[in-house]
Subunit: 354 residues, 2 copies
């Protein structure tokens, strides 16, 4: 049996610690399920690498990564390296270089105590946000004119192609149909009078092919409000790159914070590797202390298993996370417990393979 | 004594009903305070006007409005008129035409029962969001190329001028200094690699002149999360046009909804009239039934009074709103009460002038 080839980019800060726990989970599965095997290669890229070599990754990074089945990323970012370098030259470069145009971000409440919202429980907060991940507001196009002069003006251009917009919307319709859920588009056509009018038009146009899917279309401001007041409105959600970034952080806010938020960067055609990552940052202040919460990173592993077609294991991992969250003592400090990163990781594995 | 000249644009849906209550408040003040007088002129613009005349406002609208001290706007929007017309050709046209570059949006919890957040009270949610209101992502610049072809691509360009960015950031620093509060900038420099890198640079640059102001700079995604989990982090907030739109709706979400959210569109130089408006929409479904909540519109009146320099009255109106919110029975249905729009308006006036 051919192993799934996984490239590890542990990255900065707490990245290596959380990735280590995720890898242990995969190894534990391999141990008990003889039909599955994984191989791992670690790439030392990130901000420390940048401080040594002046670049976030090897020049040939995409070439080196291209034959892997998946990339497992920890976290990127470090004081002293400007974010627009550390992230554009690694995270965003991989997302775009490998045409990972689908960003799948579940927003699910895994335990009622975790939400800061009054009177909301697991059944109220259970959505899948599908974020456009390759272009749009993040295209990186712009101009900086008359730098330093009084008439200085800076332009930032969002790029919405028919191809790029259609494929993400279509992916979302398919997902809504498959999972038999409503589909909500989030956009801002009343102010972004080119790009989001186009988005809205395609959402409607493609919707003609999916008469069985119940759809809603909300302005991003209204949607952001509903995430807080009526999250039960949402099932599958599709939105642009920037709006996906924002609403999934609100999503993290209502489900217990970034320590519990995962994202899969998918190239559905499998022409390139897909990438799995916890959404949280590198948290340099607590790095190296065994204090960080590995749950988001382990949830990423669950998404990776689903993506490999190993859905039984994918669901099992998520189910164990749900169970573990009931046992406060076993959790890390951010969740009110006393466990170290490793202890929590081991506890999850124990429950998973018992 | 010269009256303050107020132009009324009641607009669509529930707009006329809520504006009527706000006007009654102003008239009641005029009645008891003989040093104050207001004059009102109503302009019939909005979507019904559009359906009759093919335009949202008279061509000479800005000319007709330019000598007023303030514009009091109800709500705009109507089924059958695309939002990007109804709003760009009225609301956004006035904001930009009159260089109302400061959008002042208080996010204050007026009664603890109103927040959907666990364990947050009035002292935790009390900020002033200062939104750039004249350019940025809302500049309306773009291109729609190869329409309808497979290679179709739509560009939307945000425009951040030094002048426009500097003046809003400076306004916010002044406000933070004056009110002795922290100042938080919300931006997205790690992805919007031109416009928001520029924003961050100016926030720092101008900050040199305000060493006494304690500052923070958050990414919009993180800030959106903190609005939900730790709103107490924020005092004065300054942000771009689009991000201001989004975070103030989250702000509305955590303070009781859009029925309680107000915004002032200010031209600080008073070269043009400023505009005061509840943030909510036109809610055509409940229009004309006396069912809508006039509090946001009356809070707008409080902002208008502050702007006129009548701060005693401005605070008094806000104080009465706080008090009224304690008495559930007296509120409209959206707040769990049984009063009509007019009854609630009258109750507020009664308390104000008693
Ligand atoms: C780090 C940053 C560039 C990134 C983004 O904005 O996409 C992050 O916030 C995320 O959501 O993955
Ligand atoms: C109606 C719309 C154009 C407007 C905006 O986006 O500015 C509204 O949402 C607001 O916040 O005032």
């Amino acid at each position: 049996m051919k192993p799934y080839k996984i490239a590890l980019i542990p990255g900065d800060g707490i990245g290596p610690e959380v990735v280590a726990e995720g890898v242990k989970v995969l190894k534990a599965i391999e141990e008990v399920d003889k039909n599955i095997s994984f191989s791992f290669t670690t790439f030392p890229w990130g901000c420390e690498y940048y401080l040594k070599y002046g670049k976030m990754m090897d020049e040939k990074a995409l070439d080196l990564l291209k034959d892997y089945d998946a990339i497992y990323l920890g976290a990127v970012g470090y004081p002293g390296v400007p974010d627009h370098i550390s992230l554009r030259d690694l995270l965003i470069k991989i997302r775009r270089g490998f045409d990972q145009y689908v960003n799948l971000r579940p927003v699910s409440l895994l335990h009622p105590d975790l939400t800061p919202l009054k009177a909301k429980s697991e059944k109220d907060i259970d959505m899948l946000v599908i974020r456009e991940n390759s272009e749009g507001e993040y295209a990186g196009a712009g101009e900086w004119l008359f730098k330093g002069n009084p008439e200085e003006v800076v332009l930032q251009t969002g790029v919405f192609s028919r191809k790029g917009t259609e494929r993400i919307i279509r992916y979302a319709y398919e997902e809504a149909r498959k999972s038999n859920r409503t589909l909500t588009s989030i956009s801002k056509g009343n102010a972004l009078n080119y790009s989001h009018v186009f988005w809205d038009q395609l959402f409607e146009e493609i919707g003609m092919e999916y008469p069985d899917v119940e759809t809603y279309s909300y302005l991003v401001d209204a949607a952001s409000l509903y995430f807080v007041t009526q999250p039960e409105r949402f099932g599958v959600v599709v939105t642009s790159n920037l709006f996906g970034d924002i609403v999934t952080d609100i999503g993290a806010g209502i489900t217990g914070g970034l320590g519990l938020a995962t994202g899969a960067n998918i190239n559905p055609e499998k022409s390139y590797p897909s990438m799995f990552e916890p959404v949280h940052g590198s948290a340099p202040d607590i790095a190296g202390k065994g204090a960080c919460n590995p749950i988001a990173a382990i949830w990423s592993v669950s998404q990776m298993l689903d993506f490999f077609g190993l859905e039984d294991w994918g669901s099992a991992v998520l189910q164990v996370i749900r169970e573990v969250l009931k046992d406060k003592e076993s959790l890390t400090a951010d969740l009110g417990g006393r466990a170290t990163t490793e202890e929590l990781g081991e506890y999850i594995i124990e429950k998973l393979i018992k």
